[in-house]
């Protein structure tokens, strides 16, 4: 069974599809899953064990070229033409399209036998063949408030699977963990960590720096937690203002805004005990790596649709007649729903989350009239429920089942990943994708540095350490070749000098995988 999943953009939407991977593999024994995504999200999926083949399209670049560079149209046209023709050769049995019109058109061009989630034909234009897709479409269009199902469950249903049949999931590699540790170790190591993601894509989704500042102050004053501030480079300024606030306890805040590529972010989130956030891609990533979430929802964000998926997350939701709204920019009430959620509410949720994870109970949310607190619970067959808190069913048994982090063969795993990256780079070289080749090389060098760090450990076998020392000059040559844009020498070094060493130390991991 060859299955194609199409979802190219928005981190959260991509992660909400990850339950499909174990779900489909379980339903169709031996299923081969290909996923099409945008190249800026490839890094988050390229080592997912549930994906057999990841195809990335430069969607953002295409959007720019198609809008602003009409002279590039023939080139983009030919590239998409060739891409879709290659898809056709793969002869997919089933396409699960979660990218609406774009996915429908790609599904048609791929000539798939069956398409779920929206398809296209020149005779009928855009159609939804399966009832789940039609129902979701109607729901979103006309009765969003009546929807009680998370988009992760909708996607499972569209794929012909039972809602709640599989968890959201994202692997965290040893290299991610090492990079996360390097970043987080900037402050005291022993205390638990609460991550705070202040931003969201659009301003009306932002709860506000001052509110977050108050929450952080309370956590720091009343607990031994450390705080890690997360966000994009654009959100760094707001995070800096918190880090530099002299009224906050110093040395217990780390500002990682703009410093966490997607892979590192998953390592950081796994490290944290809880994430406080609005409806963001980071929220979904935390849920996917098994970290508890306290999510702040109001306005357009509708927690039944896009709340953190999994057991034991807490959601604060500001109740409002007009929510979920479609046009927050035109709000006549001054976004009352946003100001209804106070820092004290978040602190109360934090206390409740602490009590639940310690195996205790919290009897009353005590949030007042306008704000509700929900705890999430996923049940196979019906999917995710939001249970009002307090409720008899919101008991400690619903606490998040965090996957156990089993210490693995760190050196072997990084070496195996490096070998995979080398294969990708050499393929980029032969396909004449020089930009991809160089950017993959940067990531390769990052991992190699990580590996070098691991090999400093006193328990490293002397022969491996000696072998690594013998390849050090080649790492220098590779960097020099990169500077002179000498791709051939760079490829030779990877293939003939570094790879044999990596092969030697990755073999145990590869044998285990077999």
């Amino acid at each position: 069974m060859k299955i194609l999943i199409i979802r190219t953009h928005r981190l959260g939407d991509i992660l909400q599809l990850t339950p499909l991977l174990p779900g489909l593999k379980k339903k169709y024994s031996g299923a081969e899953i290909t996923w099409i995504t945008g190249d800026n999200f490839a890094g988050i999926l390229d080592d997912h064990p549930g994906i057999d083949e990841l195809l990335a399209i430069p969607e953002r670049e295409y959007r720019y070229l198609l809008a602003d560079r009409p002279d590039r149209f023939p080139c983009v046209y030919n590239e998409m033409y060739d891409f879709c023709r290659l898809l056709g050769r793969r002869k997919f049995d089933l396409v699960i399209n979660r990218q609406y019109e774009v996915g429908s058109l790609i599904s048609f061009l791929a000539g798939a036998r069956a398409v779920r989630g929206g398809s296209y034909s020149p005779e009928r234009s855009f159609v939804m063949e399966d009832s789940a897709s039609r129902e979701l479409y109607q729901n979103v269009k006309s009765d969003r408030k009546g929807n009680r199902m998370n988009l992760a469950d909708w996607s499972l249903l569209i794929a012909g699977l039972a809602p709640g049949c599989a968890p959201m999931n994202l692997p965290v590699t040893e290299a991610d963990r090492i990079r996360a540790e390097e970043l987080i170790a900037e402050s005291e190591r022993s205390a638990p960590i609460a991550a705070v993601q202040m931003g969201a894509g659009r301003s009306f989704r932002q709860w506000g720096t001052e509110n977050y500042r108050k929450v952080i102050r309370t956590i720091l004053e009343r607990t031994n937690y450390r705080i890690v501030l997360l966000g994009t480079g654009e959100e760094k300024e707001a995070a800096d203002s918190i880090l530099g606030d002299p009224s906050l306890p110093q040395g217990r805040i780390v500002n990682l805004a703009g410093r966490t590529p997607l892979k590192t972010l998953r390592g950081v989130l796994e490290w944290c005990r809880v994430l406080i956030t609005g409806d963001t891609g980071t929220m979904h990533m935390a849920a996917a790596v098994g970290t508890r979430v306290i999510a702040i929802f109001y306005g357009t964000a509708y927690p039944w649709e896009t709340g953190p998926y999994g057991d034991g997350h807490l959601i604060l939701y500001s109740r409002n007649q007009c929510a979920p709204c479609r046009e927050p920019e035109k709000c006549g009430s001054g976004q009352k729903c946003r100001s209804a959620i106070k820092p004290d509410h978040v602190w109360r949720a934090f206390e409740i989350q602490e009590a639940i994870s310690a195996g205790g109970t919290a009897r009353s949310a005590g949030l007042g009239e306008d704000v509700d607190l929900y705890i999430t619970a996923v049940r196979e067959g019906t999917g995710q429920e939001l249970i009002p808190f307090p409720d008899r069913s919101a008991r400690p048994g619903n606490a998040l089942r965090r996957p156990e982090v089993v210490p693995g063969n760190t050196v072997g795993e990084i070496a195996a990943n490096l070998q995979k990256k080398k294969k990708d780079m050499i393929r980029s070289f032969y396909l004449a994708h020089s930009d991809a080749f160089f950017s993959e090389f940067s990531s390769y060098i990052d991992d190699l540095i990580c590996l070098a760090g691991c090999l400093q450990a006193p328990d490293t076998a002397p022969d491996i350490r000696n072998a690594f020392e013998s390849i050090l000059p080649y790492i220098g040559s590779a960097t020099a070749a990169m500077q002179s844009r000498d791709l051939v020498s760079l490829k030779d070094i990877l293939q003939y000098r570094l790879d044999p060493f990596l092969q030697e130390i990755a073999s145990p991991v590869q044998n285990e995988l077999r």
Binding site: C75, Y81, P122, A481, S484, R485, D486, V488
Partner: protein, 200 residues
Amino acid sequence: MAQLETNINKLRRKDPDLADRLTPPPPEAGWELVHSPSGDLTAGRNLPEGFYLIHSSMDPRREAAEWLACQDIPEKMIILLGMGLGYPLRELAENTDWDSILVVEDASLFRLALAGDDFSDLIRPGIEFLIGPDPEPIEKRISRMAGPFSICAFLPAFNAHREFFRRILDTCHMRLFELRISAKDDFSETVKILLDEIRK
């Protein structure tokens, strides 16, 4: 130099103008031949940033075989952008089902290739050499392509004369686009709709 003369003499029977152009060494050469451990030749030149290689310094033939394995060649008319010392061309000629191959290369590198290896099996009907540095006649030739074609690029040779090859590549894309659009079939029309959706 004997190899170069032999190859140019053979080429003269097929394309006398090109043979004449290659007889005096083209300016701005600077390439030197280097033996790899596999016994095959590679070529490189010194640039201000460092030494720049065209083929693997370890095993150019293996590299060419790996290169071919990655190519998508749906059409039997092939345009090869950059052949270096000829390894990619030889792989294409020997291991694909082709009707015609148009080889685009810079004059200095092409001359070096003719000096380094016997091209008698590659100077033959069906294989056409379109040699720079002037891109205009090459563009005119590509614009006359009568049917869809496959485009293959050998990156190190392409990057060695990037501006020249980018221009030729754009011409290839324009011609291929014209040919595909003129087919007016469901596939080509749907790709157009797809791009409209991506643009939104």
